[in-house]
Symmetry: C2
Subunit: 397 residues, 2 copies
């Protein structure tokens, strides 16, 4: 049984702060500061260039990838770190389209994070081969998976609403019609159990600065289904994805399996900090995490709906269809969030009117939930926002 | 007049080490350790998500880019940081080909760093429009710039030999026939004066962990000639290159000028460390740096040629055609470099037989040069490598 009173002590949370924005940027793990000193002072400082081998820098993208693999239901050797989520989405989508040369549709939904859609737009424009990016409403995705679809590109948990797709069912449907799937786990990795291998997902990508607490600009990860990896001819064919980077061959030859998704020199310092941040997961069972996450989000929803009239839940009410965040629409949401932050309750706001609250069980407890509800209720009452004219449903679904 | 005895005190060089590998990974600037503590402890730790605005994280790619712009002869607002050199090469080349849709040749040379060639290969394969990557010998580049060339893609200073291209002359020649130029400044930025604006270069990219001492995996930079930037439709169209990233529009619209070359979330911690590493340049005149670099490399060549028979200079003898490194071919080069490193003289080795020594005037002095020569001479004499059979010319030119 995971002890969340212990995981909480692994983080620095400033005095008086209730941090409900770990779905945007996780807080500092205490181990991270120590590790930064080591990698800068002892490794870079003392070993200089020799640290690439002596301190194991060159292998970090794979080693850290293996640690993340465990959290997302992937086998060792199928995940590698590097770049940003945007770049990893580009690599995965380019590979998927390469594997389905006769199909011209990329299917996504309007709940996907914009950068995924933007990267797809840029790729399709470059390819200039008549591809279409077909964007449907989240609830229409399943029916839209048809035989002309090359790749279904989705973010599992919606960044605004927390609505969660059924990865296994949609992947099954995609495979039935011969399409590949690309799952963005930005709001899943470290937030809930993910079972990439069980679902048969083809590609997955994610970032590590949210629920994985790797720090601002921590590197992204990419997964390829092991039996597909060797078929992928990388679009971003950088030297560290080469079969033998230090042979300095004039021609690119892809490295083994997922290694070919490496591109340039890895961000060693950020990787080291992320590596330290992952230590806290060693004792965490992902199903305990999920149970705890649901307790916290249910408690928050009940509290807000009981004490804060005017806020309308935009997250799914069924916890099984929700990630580890809760979003409420509120006409004065922007001002209310500013007031919350000034009182130490940090969530965030997403246009047009969504107040977003993330619940990371590693460091958020029931007391935090209760205090956040109380402060929010006070703000609403003292601002006069409990009057009926502020009760309006959001356009976001 | 730049005082290099002062710049030297800004770095940590381990006791007994003569560091001649700053052309691969620069040493730790003392200010970097302090800045890492601040960005992790005070900014990430205390400000959490609000640091994106309050600590100025969101603007760092441009602000740090402006500091590098000064060192490479670029106007403020024309350089932006992010990703890796490989990614930046891809962006620049994709943009160049987009601007010359009727031309199908990318001209490069066999002295280019492999990742530049690999990224071009991956891009051309993806585009699938009949492009050719034409690779000629370095001395044949000028004659090979013909009217079918879309882009001339070169690394200014050869990573193995230190041979330097004439950026202004080759750019002029390219423009005469309507081609664009893409300069990789990996071994130029911080090593010698670069004048991108004066040369009329169209695109430039570079890394910051060599002569700019940004640390392992420090982010890369990209430059676009200001009057071209607004014509570029980015291939890697990430959300932070969007005109309004936080509007979360479904469609990509490129940001203003060079900002559109941003892709995903910036590596804030590595950027902060790089920013601190750039402080040392504030008092440095690039022409003083060049003078000093030539003094050091000339002294090293004279010393090695006088005391180490068997080593053949593969760098240009004319300092005006050489970067800030010196390479010697030697049949037992690999073993000799290992012996040097074990005695504290750190250079590196590049296949097949090249011993590479970088001279960063910020922290390398004449005493270092003399001591490195003496130790190398001792190693050669005691190993019996001064016998005539070890005197063979390298195949690398």
């Amino acid at each position: 049984m995971t002890d969340f009173s212990i995981t909480r002590t692994a983080f620095h949370i400033p005095d008086g702060v209730i941090y409900l924005d770990g779905n945007s940027l996780g807080p500092v793990p205490l181990a991270a500061e120590q590790r930064a000193r080591e990698v800068i002072g002892r490794e870079w400082g003392e070993m200089l260039i020799t640290a690439w081998n002596r301190a194991g820098w060159m292998d970090m993208p794979r080693r850290v990838g293996d640690r993340i693999a465990r959290l997302i239901g992937a086998a060792p050797g199928t995940v590698v770190m590097g770049d940003t989520l945007s770049i990893k989405v580009y690599q995965a989508l380019a590979a998927a389209l390469d594997l389905r040369p006769d199909r011209k549709v990329v299917l996504s939904d309007s709940g996907n994070f914009p950068t995924d859609l933007y990267m797809a737009q840029g790729l399709l424009r470059s390819l200039n081969r008549g591809h279409e990016l077909r964007v449907v409403a989240p609830e229409e995705v399943e029916d839209a998976i048809s035989e002309d679809v090359a790749a279904v590109m989705l973010t599992e948990v919606d960044y605004r609403t927390g609505r969660m797709h059924d990865m296994a069912a949609l992947t099954r449907k995609a495979h039935e019609v011969g399409a590949l799937t690309l799952w963005d786990l930005a709001h899943s990795a470290g937030a809930l159990p993910v079972d990439l291998a069980g679902a048969g997902a083809d590609f997955a990508t994610g970032c590590t600065y949210k629920y994985l607490n790797g720090g601002p600009g921590a590197p992204a990860f990419i997964y390829i289904r092991p039996d597909l990896a060797e078929q992928v001819e990388p679009a971003l064919s950088g030297w560290l994805g080469h079969e033998a980077p230090f042979a300095f061959d004039p021609d690119y030859r892809p490295g083994r399996g997922i290694e070919r998704m490496r591109v340039g020199t890895p961000p060693v310092i950020q990787l080291a900090i992320l590596d330290a941040a992952l230590d806290v997961w060693d004792g965490v069972d992902m199903h305990d995490l999920r149970r705890r996450s649901i307790e916290l989000t249910e408690r928050f929803i009940a509290g807000v709906e009981g004490e804060c009239p005017g806020l309308a839940l935009v997250s799914p009410r069924d916890p099984a269809r929700r990630g580890s965040q809760v979003s409420f629409a509120f006409e004065e949401g922007y001002a209310a969030m500013q007031a919350l932050i000034s009182r130490g309750v940090i969530g965030d706001f997403r246009a047009p009117d969504v107040m977003r609250f993330g619940f990371a069980p590693l460091y958020v407890g029931e007391d935090d939930v209760d205090r956040a509800v109380r402060i929010l209720a006070e703000i609403i009452a003292t601002s006069g926002w409990d009057k009926p004219e502020f009760r309006r449903r959001s356009a976001v679904t």
